[in-house]
């Protein structure tokens, strides 16, 4: 499956390239389907079109909150059913965890500040940095994705990768929107737990001392805008950090860590008296990840 995907720039079509219609766009390979906003499947997604087709989309230029596909009435653009995590929706989630770049194309019907006046325009590579379930403006369950512009060319497409054997990786300058996070908050929580994972109790040992990660329960950044405070942070090992952020596990109302799809009991969240966890943020996490 993966071999049929082309991630990254398509030679001959740099960011800024415009297309008169979907057929011309499809022929270029920048976004191959002639219909549908997401080019992707279970193995990953490679491109999207942002064209105002979903009422819950938000476009901030270098940052896009994108709605998954399905469940909408093409005529009214309103949601009329829940969206499943399959096809393109699963593809975007997969590309998030694989780190695949997504080609973003904007259509004239999208946000007026960031979209072309007519036709379609390839706007460069973005990365999916978050995905979660939400209730859309029309009351149905939707999948949402936060994409952030890479603002830089990726390496040459896969066919050229073989030529790089033995060569050092190239450097390219890039401008990013960095979320300023407090290292004091993160380090404070990790110290209170002696760098032990609150899910499994593991304390990873390195020659530079114990290692743990500070995981925000309600994510920082749009549209969650979680607070960067100790009560919104868990101390986790890297493996449980990935499982928590991708919604593979959640913490229930009684403090038991559970497998999201089976509800299997994975043990009680480890706590220490000096670190108060905000239960409303755990409820927020649950609500946005539990299938």
């Amino acid at each position: 499956m993966a071999s049929t995907r082309t991630y990254g720039e398509i030679p001959g079509y740099p960011p800024g390239t415009t297309f008169r219609n979907r057929s011309e766009l499809a022929k270029s390979g920048v976004h191959r389907p002639t219909q549908g906003g997401i080019c992707g499947g279970a193995d990953g997604a490679e491109s999207i079109v942002v064209s105002g087709g979903y009422i819950d989309d938000e476009d901030y230029g270098t940052e896009i909150v994108y709605t998954g596909q399905g469940g909408n009435d093409p005529g009214t653009k309103r949601q009329i059913a829940d969206q499943p995590l399959t096809l393109g929706n699963l593809g975007l989630a997969r590309s998030r965890i694989e780190g695949n770049p997504i080609r973003v194309v904007r259509g004239a019907a999208g946000d007026p500040d960031h979209s072309p006046k007519a036709g379609l325009r390839y706007d460069g590579l973005f990365r999916v940095v978050d995905h979660w379930r939400d209730t859309g403006k029309d009351g149905f369950k939707i999948w949402r994705y936060r994409l952030v512009a890479l603002e830089s060319a990726d390496p040459p497409p896969p066919s050229a990768a073989g030529d790089l054997e033995g060569q050092p990786a190239q450097r390219t300058p890039a401008t990013i929107q960095r979320l300023a996070r407090s290292t004091a908050v993160a380090n404070g929580v990790k110290h209170l737990h002696s760098h032990r994972c609150q899910v499994c109790g593991l304390q990873l040992q390195t020659p530079a001392g114990p290692y743990a990660e500070a995981a925000h329960i309600r994510a920082l950044g749009r549209p969650h805008n979680g607070p960067d405070v100790a009560s919104n942070v868990l101390c986790l090992c890297p493996n449980h950090h990935v499982l928590f952020d991708t919604g593979a596990i959640y913490v229930d109302q009684t403090g038991i860590v559970r497998h999201a799809q089976t509800d299997a009991d994975l043990g009680t969240l480890r706590t220490v008296a000096a670190h108060r966890v905000d239960w409303s943020q755990l409820a927020y996490h649950r609500e946005h990840h539990k299938p």
Copy 2:
């Protein structure tokens, strides 16, 4: 211990601030010791002075390859003994794994392209992105650190963090040197291993499918300049990725994964026929991490 450290900007001393001498610099709090290049200990390091005191230092402006402290003759600046991973050296390694920002001060005796003409200059916040053991130009073991400029202000110092309760994190634009990595190489290796960790065999399950990480054996970027090819990549779970990158584990000449400090046998590196691992890169990793 941690509470005695001040990470990040010191109010009143923005990047570019100059100091006539070490005493004036120490008084400002930007770099507190009046002697010594590293302000740090087992709990972390907060600042360094780059002033040409070590023959193995390399200064590229927004990127610095910095030598640990100790073992040198102040008169000749030559190394005359091995450096231990203690005191400031341990502090820089600790700040790497904690993600603490490091204040970088340059002195007039440093690299002529990037240093002030006289006195000392505070040049902003950097992060330690790598650390490893090396044999210096004079034949003794040294610790080396790669630091990369943050190019942006960090959040207010810890004392102000309490004021942020309930506020979303702030965004600041930042320019970074991004190492272009091939997602094709990374994904190829992960697929060959079905996203199973080559150390422990774990295949992390998420709602978006299995998750693993592509770990470069010989690091990309200065001064290692490892190649971004499949034979220089291992498929690891996040926990073993951290342990491998920090030198907590290594792979011996017979393919056995070992604990770096005790040489304990942690099992044989899992391999698949279609993924050739470059043993010379595993030797490079060993040489630069095994104590």
